[in-house]
């Protein structure tokens, strides 16, 4: 087994991201800071380490988002995203 088997899609962290953003983030769009590609987060490649998750650009492999959760907090590193677009229509109702 190698990491090729462990790669997942953005869907895998939909619940985790929804905790933070209160949006269904898999349908939201990001711009890759490295190559400029536009993708819905559902299309990003995910490595779901037990300590957190890493979302990578499907085109160039750039890490777009890192997220860790623990001790009642979330931490986010979005340096790999040039921009993140949230659509009012994807906000999760209370």
């Amino acid at each position: 087994m190698d990491e090729a088997d462990l790669r997942l899609d953005g869907n895998h962290v939909a619940g985790l991201l929804a905790e933070v953003f209160q949006f269904d983030m898999t349908v939201e769009w990001s711009g890759c800071a490295a190559c400029g590609a536009r993708n819905q987060l559902g299309a990003l490649q995910v490595y779901a380490h037990g300590m957190g998750a890493v979302m990578c650009c499907p085109g160039c492999g750039q890490t777009q988002l890192r997220v860790a959760r623990g001790g009642g907090r979330w931490w986010l590193d979005l340096r790999g995203m040039a921009w993140l677009q949230l659509d009012e229509g994807a906000r999760l109702p209370d």
């Binding site: 990491e3 490595y47 380490h49 037990g50 957190g52 001790g71 979330w74």
Partner: protein, 205 residues
């Protein structure tokens, strides 16, 4: 994060007799060896593999695979603890003691910290004292077999007295500094030092 206790659910983990005292707080005994990945597994060619020790040292050193294999062999037998709460008890790794590497590189007096950097970009930081005095190794064997790529092969750092994220996979270099520099997880909310016996999992623990 208390939840609803579901009838009949126990999970996979087993805690054997006599193991409770060996488990740091909040850990359970895991017979397997889970693979935790934060990115693609680097593929490293042994012919071009190098291990560097540099930074605040008198003699920056670099070893090839053959050279590092020729160093005095050292084995660790004991327990490892992952911050995701599994502990693997009674396992073994073999390689070379970091003390041997540091003896050859000769740390300067002002060196206080070390940053491990790895193929694939992973980094972790430690106080220099946490890798000296028989507490750390660079290892390439696990339980008698070559360390598989998914577990950090060809070689990884091993610092078993701290949470296992400090035992950086796919090790490339140890750089000695006179200041601290948080690594991959330390910069994302995890504890800077990570002592499992004091349950130092996250910032502020």
């Amino acid at each position: 994060m208390a939840g609803y206790v579901s009838r009949g659910f126990r999970g996979r983990r087993r805690a054997g007799d006599g193991e409770a005292g060996r488990l740091p707080p909040g850990q359970y005994a895991e017979p397997g060896f889970p693979v935790l990945t934060a990115g693609p597994t680097p593929r490293v060619d042994l012919a071009t593999w190098r291990l560097r020790v540099d930074g605040l040292v008198a003699t920056p050193r670099e070893w090839t695979w053959e050279e590092v294999q020729a160093l005095p062999r050292s084995t660790f037998e004991g327990d490892i603890h992952c911050v995701t709460r599994w502990s693997k008890l009674g396992t073994s790794f073999a390689g070379v003691s970091v003390d041997v590497l540091l003896d050859q590189a000769e740390p300067l007096p002002q060196a206080t910290h070390v940053v491990a950097s790895c193929h694939g970009g992973y980094t972790t930081n430690l106080p220099l004292e946490d890798v000296r005095g028989g507490k750390a190794w660079v290892v390439w064997e696990h339980e008698g077999q070559p360390l598989p790529p998914e577990h950090g092969g060809p070689a990884r750092l091993l610092v078993p007295h701290l949470y296992f994220w400090k035992s950086a996979k796919w090790l490339m270099a140890l750089r000695l500094l006179d200041h601290d520099r948080p690594g991959f997880w330390e910069g994302l909310g995890y504890h800077n030092r990570g002592d499992p016996w004091r349950e130092e999992r996250y910032w502020g623990d």
